[in-house]
């Protein structure tokens, strides 16, 4: 979330004081993203340093200081609005890693682990739904924010559903049944051991 650009957007409507900016930010993001006034002032200082905003009130300080957006700031805002949001997934998604690792843990039931995460996601979605249900009908900003979060969570649920089905159709081998060499890189003799005979049981 770019607090910088959110503040520039609020200032594009006209000059504003820091406290007012903080209140308007919270109103427009439906209070889903809380922002303390300190963060607002730090961000404003940086914007001022970079020439994107300026104060039209040299004497004031803190809450008394009023800010206006500069031409450079307006151009930056316009450019940011048109720049595609990062759509590259993070290289390591913790949930994906957890599910993959659970396949290698003896005794771990991957379907149960999937369900724990699925329930958690749905419970989060229920809370966003509540926010939408309790909001005024014309609070479009809040509805859009809650929608975005719910679609993100829904995407995770759909991945969990797909993982569940895939693992049911093609169960991963029980880690306990894997050859000892793969389970623990031990002595060379173990690596050279002949393939496990059926019914020989797991060796660790």
């Amino acid at each position: 979330m770019s607090v910088r650009h959110a503040l520039l957007a609020l200032l594009s409507e006209g000059p504003k004081y820091g406290l007012r900016l903080q209140q308007e930010f919270e109103e427009r993001t439906g209070e889903v993203w809380p922002l303390n006034v300190g963060q607002v002032y730090i961000t404003l200082q940086r914007l001022e340093r970079d020439g994107l905003v300026e104060s039209d009130d040299e004497d004031g300080a803190g809450p008394q200081k009023r800010f206006v957006i500069t031409q450079v700031g307006a151009a930056e805002l316009d450019s940011w609005l048109r720049t595609p949001a990062g759509d590259i997934p993070p290289p390591r998604d913790e949930l994906v890693i957890k599910i993959l690792i659970s396949l290698r843990v003896p005794g771990a039931d991957v379907h149960d682990i999937v369900q724990v995460h699925r329930r958690h996601m749905i419970e989060l979605m229920q809370r966003y739904w509540r926010i939408k249900a309790d909001a005024a009908e014309d609070d479009i900003g809040l509805a859009l924010i809650a929608d975005a979060e719910m679609f993100r969570l829904e995407g995770i649920v759909r991945w969990l559903d797909a993982a569940d089905t895939r693992l049911k159709l093609h169960p991963a081998p029980d880690p306990a049944s894997l050859p000892a060499a793969a389970a623990a890189p031990a002595a060379p003799a173990a690596r050279a051991a002949p393939a496990r005979r059926p019914g020989a049981g797991a060796r660790r």
Binding site: P34, R118, I122, Q126, R127, K132, D134, M150
Partner: protein, 240 residues
Amino acid sequence: MTAVLELREVSKAYETGAAEVHALRQVSLSVDAGELVAIMGPSGSGKSTLLTIAGALEEPTTGQVLVAGNDLSRYSANDQAKLRRRLIGYVFQDFNLLAGLTAVENVTLPLELDGARVKAARPAGMKALQDLGVAERADRFPDELSGGERQRVAIARAVVGDRQVLLADEPTGALDSVNGEAVMRLLLAVCRRGVAGVVVTHDAQFASCADRVVFLRDGRMIDQTGPQPGPESLLAPDPQ
């Protein structure tokens, strides 16, 4: 709260040739008046079977189904059908309104099937339409109604009279997310007036509108969501 719909250790097995398929295994579910429960699960997990058994359209192999305190197994098939028509309403994916009947005639149809006279049924039909905000469209035919109005009429038909249980099978299946959400809001509002609702859906968005989400897998109820904390719990500082 009082449980209006109760399934006690319900199992359902179908014989397919030599094999027996267990569609439901020992499912217990209790839905209170005013509560909406969503059932989620993959294809073949038993969601639809659970709904048809809860709606007295099918009998369980073992276990009991109680609707408004009436143990269905104690009733004859005929009396079960009567009970079903009087107490249980259904909403279907395509809403299934009859094209040759007006909105209010569609809504009163279940009452008339149950023996009510046309004139006597109309006030109940009008009240149901009024509760769903479409009373002024009562004398229109389905093809004169908007999609949203048809949904409202279909939900009114499901809860007309003294129906205490509302069952819906993928009612949002053919709708986009915003219209689907509108249907869920209507179902929730209807339940809040004292109806026990169960909605089957594979869609997490719509399921999350429910008070409780129950998860089925291989005919078993494996999990359900817990009590919901308030929305302020989302306002915790972002750890990132």
